[in-house]
Amino acid sequence: MYSIVSTAVLHGIGSIPVCVEADVSEGMPIFDMIGFLASEVREARERVRTALRNSGYRLPPSHVTINFTPADIRKSGSGFDLPVSAAVLAALGVIHQEALEGTFVTGEVGLNGRVQPVRGVFPMIAEAKERGLRRCVVPEENRREAYMVEGMTVYAVSCIREMVGLLNGDGGKDADGSFNIEGTCDVESEGAQAETLPDFSEISGQPFIRRACETAVSGMHNLLLTGPPGAGKTMMAMRIPSILPPLDHAEQMELSRLYSVSGLLAGRDTLIRERPFRAPHHTVTAQGLAGGGVHPKLGEISLAHKGVLFLDELPEFKKETLEVLRQPLEEKKVRLVRLLESCEYPADFMLVAAMNPCRCGYYPDVSRCRCTALSVERYLGKISRPLLDRIDICVMVPQLTFRELLEGGAEESSADIRRRVLEAQQRQKERYRNEIFSFNSQIPAAKIREYCGLNRKQESDMEEAYRKFELTARSYHRILKVARTLADMDGHRKILDRHLGEAVCYRSPEQKCFGNLWGGGGD
């Protein structure tokens, strides 16, 4: 007898539909599986045979052929055990073939017939629904992920017998019968998010850095915080997601897919609702950051999609590791090409980096800093020019003074700041509605004149500054973009002097690293 089951193989952050066909016929007692299988899928043969027997189904001594279509796509991953089991059982007549129509099946099985969780359930189910499937069988542990797809009937099963029972409509015949059928998306719990995120109101003082963070977020500029240890760089960075605008539904879906593929969605009740904050340790490899492997896995930059990628102790990162950031920072995605497959992962993140000004961390406080000029220069020089070119805002976070510590009281909360950020971003979106970009940080060089125009006096001021600060064309443009953002925050259509001055204050370091180092004191 012949049967067919729908399933899918993960590819990048999406999936490719795959059908598992089973045929049981007279002949040599062989269990054969074909269709461009990876070794973990080929092993399914032993798992399925044993699991079926241990679940109480007897395989007759007949010729069993399993075929995976389309045959030209490599099948990998552990989610094929359950579809193969279902196909065999349907071919044997244990499951009604009509019960499998319009049903998506995925899951791994153990030798005792228990169903184990798999990665990527959310995108597979979401895409199955788009293809018109209305029902899915998923491992019990992946139940919540499947529920997130609205309009899908979910059969969450913990063993093969349970799947058979549910599909044949006998209901759950387990003793407790507690499993849930046909779940839907859980009630949206709005309050959950605000409590967990760190808030800007918890930081006392430091108005300058707060302002810099707000500016960075308003125009989606990348940010570099430098300062002595204990000045609060990390604290600031951790609070940046709380002033980013909330994710819309499409973004939530996209993020949930990403996290599902990485196996990070299991056990969650809802879609990913808060902006991610990823802070990889500085020992991370280039592959860990950008993604990679024989079968490309998501890197930190993709997990930080729509959120913040925080690189603490920036100079401690390996140079090659940081260089991989360059292309994703421009293109907002990363394309990984490997021998067997190539895929494109989104990587639209805001880069926030933090660093000490020198090895001991106290430069330019000469009374405490113990570094030589050369070592300071070398330390700062670890960050390459091209990377600095992609960071629009750079500020020095000074140590908190005692006065600030004492006077620190009711500070502005993240919610208030976020409101202003939203307004500023709205202005940008309106202005750029006919453009391919939507934030000031993304204005291409050719459009700078159009969107960041200056008046005569400002131009002559900037010309003077250009010479005095030894600016480059690139850094000049960055100053203009940040000035544009400051004007947007102010609600002004034109860039005013004060915006320009503030933007100059935030400009990122020039060739001479951060200013005049010892010995290089010329001006």
Binding site: I209, P364, A373, L374, V395, M396, F514, W518, G521
Partner: protein, 358 residues
């Protein structure tokens, strides 16, 4: 053949030994032709030294001397008339001097500007300004080309359009520290580079205290801008004292480690530099040709600019501090800072740290 060059380059024979040899033998030439018996008759020299002299006679020094000249490095010995007069009179004067560029003429006034390599922004600014004003008065600035104060002194002199000389603790064809290469060539153009070590000698820690005696020796006045207690700059001051030079120090706050050495010098009787103008006046009333630098332009600042300018100190201040002190909003403060920077009243010494320009 240049006998002095031969004498200065005998391995194992140092400056002191040369002086003792010449005291008995007369000149390098006479020493060269002195027979071994005559050498042994000289008092106070060991077998090792005599062997070194005898062996070195067999080796040709002339080709090396000619290559050195071809590279633009000249050699002066104590016996030469062109040997700097000031240096001749100090105890333990170097026998040989290697020079790239030129030395100040004998009558020219010279001031040494020395101080810490790891100096503060304030110190650097003071050194630069002293160098500049001295150069404008026609004074040659002597220093050691080290990072920090030394470099600032040289740079100031160059900016003032005057002459400046650097005394190195390595061969004159080497630039140490390497980061000062640009400055090295600038100094070479406007003055000279001097060392008692033959070309190609790598810098060693013990060379630097010895080098300091030459800095003091070439100068009429030694100015210590910033020095910690027990620092190399104080060694220079000690040499200066020994050589009977005038010493001036820039005073600092009492708990400032970088000024501890200077304050100690002042307590011991060194001259105090209260202002650059005052210092120049004092110098010109003594030995120096009197020219006073033009006074600074009067500050014509707007109200807010004045407020910010008066808060900016000679110690770098951060934006946070200025925000607190001026009570201005960030955009207002930034606009004023930008204007002040453009007009050259203040500089940004490090990211978001500002000081006054002197």
């Amino acid at each position: 053949m240049n006998y002095a060059y031969w004498l200065a380059n005998i391995p194992g024979i140092g400056n002191r030994t040369i002086q003792r040899l010449l005291a008995q033998a007369g000149s390098a030439r006479e020493l060269y032709f002195l027979e071994e018996k005559g050498l042994r008759a000289l008092k106070g020299f060991g077998e090792k030294e005599i062997r070194a002299i005898v062996e070195s006679r067999g080796k040709e020094t002339e080709p090396a001397y000619q290559t050195m000249l071809a590279k633009g490095i000249s050699f002066l010995s104590y016996e030469d008339d062109e040997y700097p007069e000031k240096l001749r009179n100090i105890p333990d004067a170097p026998y040989g001097l290697y020079i790239r560029g030129r030395l100040p003429e004998n009558g020219k006034k010279t001031v040494a500007i020395v101080g810490a390599r790891r100096c503060s922004e304030y110190g650097r600014a003071v050194a630069r300004r002293l160098g500049e004003q001295l150069a404008k008065c026609g004074v040659c600035v002597i220093s050691g080309l080290a990072a920090g104060i030394d470099s600032a002194g040289h740079r100031g002199a160059l900016r003032g359009g005057g002459m400046t000389c650097a005394v190195l603790g390595c061969g004159v064809d080497l630039c140490y520290p390497v980061s000062n290469r640009e400055l090295y060539y600038d100094v070479l153009e406007e003055g000279g580079i001097v060392s008692e070590y033959s070309p190609g000698t790598q810098p060693l820690p013990r060379f630097f205290p010895a080098r300091n005696r030459i800095i003091a020796g070439l100068s009429d006045v030694v100015v210590v801008v910033e020095a910690k207690s027990r620092s190399g700059s104080l060694i220079t001051a000690d040499h200066a004292l020994e050589q009977g030079r005038e010493i001036y120090a820039v005073p600092g706050r009492m708990d400032d480690a970088l000024s501890a050495g200077c304050n100690m010098l002042i307590r011991q009787g060194a001259g105090m530099i209260v202002s650059v103008e005052d210092f120049l006046k004092e110098l010109s009333s003594g030995t120096f040709p009197g020219t006073c630098p033009d006074s600074f332009e009067k500050l014509l600042l707007e109200k807010e600019e004045y407020l910010v300018y008066s808060c900016v100190d000679l110690r770098p201040k951060t934006v946070e501090e200025l925000l607190l002190e001026t009570k201005l909003s960030m955009p207002e403060l930034a606009a004023v800072l930008f204007a002040l920077m453009r007009r050259g009243f203040i500089t940004e010494t490090f990211k978001n740290c500002y000081i006054r320009r002197l």
